[in-house]
């Protein structure tokens, strides 16, 4: 058989087999992968809104870095918004989920979904000890250093990781502005 023809046949066959196998494996794993993603988002939402209904609400997209969920309790009352936002941090992008009261002015809680900040410094943004201070704070937030927060909008930066701390606050501000516009608030 001519070499060129053999080349084309072999490559095409390999291509088809590859596509076929991957299609099958993808189908076999698709559901589990989606489940994993849902579980993680639900876990984050539940940590911030313990009274939230167990069903994952519909995701509302604003743009490629921002989306949000309307959070209802088991009875169907709106108890807040969970905003998923991405933005630049110190070492890379930070992806977070911030919970807000229905007025979109007060923070209910903060959960860091993804970050690649410096371990021991910027990466401490995932530490509940630091995140807890966001509970009950009012927007717009102000980052302060070297003293404890005095007013309802101050956030104390992580010592030695001011940039990571500021990045988190900026991401929250930008995202909430967008959600406010979308919800007409």
């Amino acid at each position: 058989m001519k070499v060129e023809l053999k080349m084309v046949i072999v490559l095409t066959l390999i291509g088809f087999f590859s596509g076929g196998v991957l299609y099958l494996v993808n189908n076999a794993t698709k559901e589990q992968i989606e489940e994993n993603l849902k579980k993680e988002t639900l876990k984050a939402i539940k940590e911030i809104f313990p009274n939230a209904s167990n069903k994952l609400p519909k995701k509302i997209f604003i743009d490629r870095t921002t989306s949000y969920f309307k959070i209802h309790d088991e009875k169907g009352n709106l108890i807040g918004y969970a905003v998923v936002a991405e933005g630049p941090g110190f070492q890379g992008d930070i992806k977070l989920l911030v919970g807000l009261k229905p007025d979109l002015k007060e923070i209910v809680g903060l959960y860091i979904l993804e970050q690649v900040e410096t371990p021991g410094l910027g990466a401490e943004i995932v530490n509940p000890n630091w995140r807890n201070q966001f509970k009950g704070k009012k927007l717009p937030l102000v980052v302060i250093k070297q003293r404890e927060p005095k007013t309802k909008n101050e956030i104390k930066a992580i010592t030695g990781a001011t940039i990571s701390s500021r990045s988190v606050v900026n991401i929250i501000h930008n995202a909430v502005e967008k959600v406010k516009k979308k919800e007409g608030k």
């Binding site: 590859s18 596509g19 991957l22 299609y23 494996v25 993808n26 490629r64 630049p88 110190f90 070492q91 890379g92 992008d93 410096t118 940039i163 500021r166």
Partner: protein, 191 residues
Amino acid sequence: MKIFYILIATILVNNFVLHYFLGICPFLGVSTKMSSAIGMGFAATFVMTLTALITWLVNHYIIIASGFTFLQYVAFILVIASLVQFVEMFLKKFFPALYRALGIYLPLITTNCAILGLALLGAMRKYNLIENIFFGFGAGIGFTLALVAMAGIREELEKADIPEGLKGVGIALITAGLMSFAFLGFAGIIK
């Protein structure tokens, strides 16, 4: 503005070699001489910029459009392998002197993790077409920068007295460690 940040970040702060550990094989293998470092660097930058362009198009108009996201890796690597093949043929025909100068470095670029790495990272970060192209270009420049710096140091090290076990790759790795230490200092120049 964002493009400026992408360039600075990719060349200095998140240097592909010294921060992301992409392109280490050529970094260690090709950086013994300044001339090879420069040649490899430019060839890689050229391929990376083109890769950024074509993988973005393939990703948006084929992978995402069809929904067959599981074919992304196969598609990307085929694009890269073909691109390198075409670049080789193109250079051989129109710029034979350059082709001869680059020699074996060209086919080596296919397995350079920096190329596939940039295609994947660009896709993950969801850049638009222009941003992706600059990301590829920046990645190439950063790679070249690391390579050239390493070549400069290694040429000097040739004259130094290094313990037997560390000669060659060992001392290159330690040097790379010190270089990446230095580049850590760039972190934070972008707010």
